[in-house]
Symmetry: C2
Subunit: 168 residues, 2 copies
Amino acid sequence: MELAEAKSKFVETWGKLGSEWGINRTMAQVHALLLITPGELTTEEIMEKLSISRGNANMTLRDLIGWGLVEKQHKPGERKEYFFADKDAWKIAQQVAKERSKRELDPVIKVLDELTKVQGDINDPEFKTFNKSVTDINKLAKNVNRTLEIMLKADGNWFWKGIFKLFK
Amino acid sequence: MELAEAKSKFVETWGKLGSEWGINRTMAQVHALLLITPGELTTEEIMEKLSISRGNANMTLRDLIGWGLVEKQHKPGERKEYFFADKDAWKIAQQVAKERSKRELDPVIKVLDELTKVQGDINDPEFKTFNKSVTDINKLAKNVNRTLEIMLKADGNWFWKGIFKLFK
DNA sequence: CTAAACTTTCAAAAAGTTCTGAAAGTTTAT
DNA sequence: ATAAACTTTCAGAACTTTTTGAAAGTTTAG
């Protein structure tokens, strides 16, 4: 496979995975493009390479900055803004985990905490089933949360080593 | 909070989480409804409780069965089909992990494996960056995959115990 | 101050996804 | 064989999300 072909395949695959996981396809593609680009890119270059509009490029880049995945850079003497992505895979994973857990998991845990407090007649099967399901899911969500906290503090190597020790 | 209110809050919250994670909102809601229902429900009852059409209910239930989250039940002497959800939170998590990794992670790993094989000039920064990013992401994806495999075999209690030992 | 170079905004259009409901299909009982 | 009870299908409608592009805004240089 040619390098050029491989690059577009990477961008395409990353975009597809993103959209399956609730991340805007274009956003994932712009990120992918920056990941395989040695230096920085301007808005103009991104628009061109991915055939997207100026508005789309601008908003997507802003979102990526909001996710902590991309940084703006200014070059001395230049007016243009350059965009650059951190290429450390473990850091990217940490950043995504951090944001998604903050934006999506935390609010759910908050609701589940409230729902576990709902009182009812323990002999009512409706209440019993509700209470059990909510309580169990809440526990699971909290375990996931604690695990993510470990992951966010950890060095990648150390983390996986620990996980794989579980095997033996 | 009233039980009735709590129930709809649960269904709504689950639906929202689902849609943020690339799972159809209605599908997550139907699953939530079945999770807090002691017995089984008919298509008719689901349609009514969630105000959705027959077609939607039917397709959603089929999908949920495809995900291994819901089962059809037949009652002797009855023509209707009843639907029932396994309520064990750990099993649900395993099932979702299994399906998503099969449907989404595996195909990506297959592409990444191909892309890591692409040959190029090690002095070309374009190639170097491409190769490094792809290789690193591939490694990460494989670690995730191995971890999911452990999770799929494991008992929930044992799995979390192991994870939290990482702390000390 | 003015113009050029660039970025941001946002209303409307396009694209993508989900839902409806009526018709077709299937199964079972008589 | 017929009818009743139920399930499945799918074309089009409704809804949601994403994208465009032109206008407005901002910054810098002279």
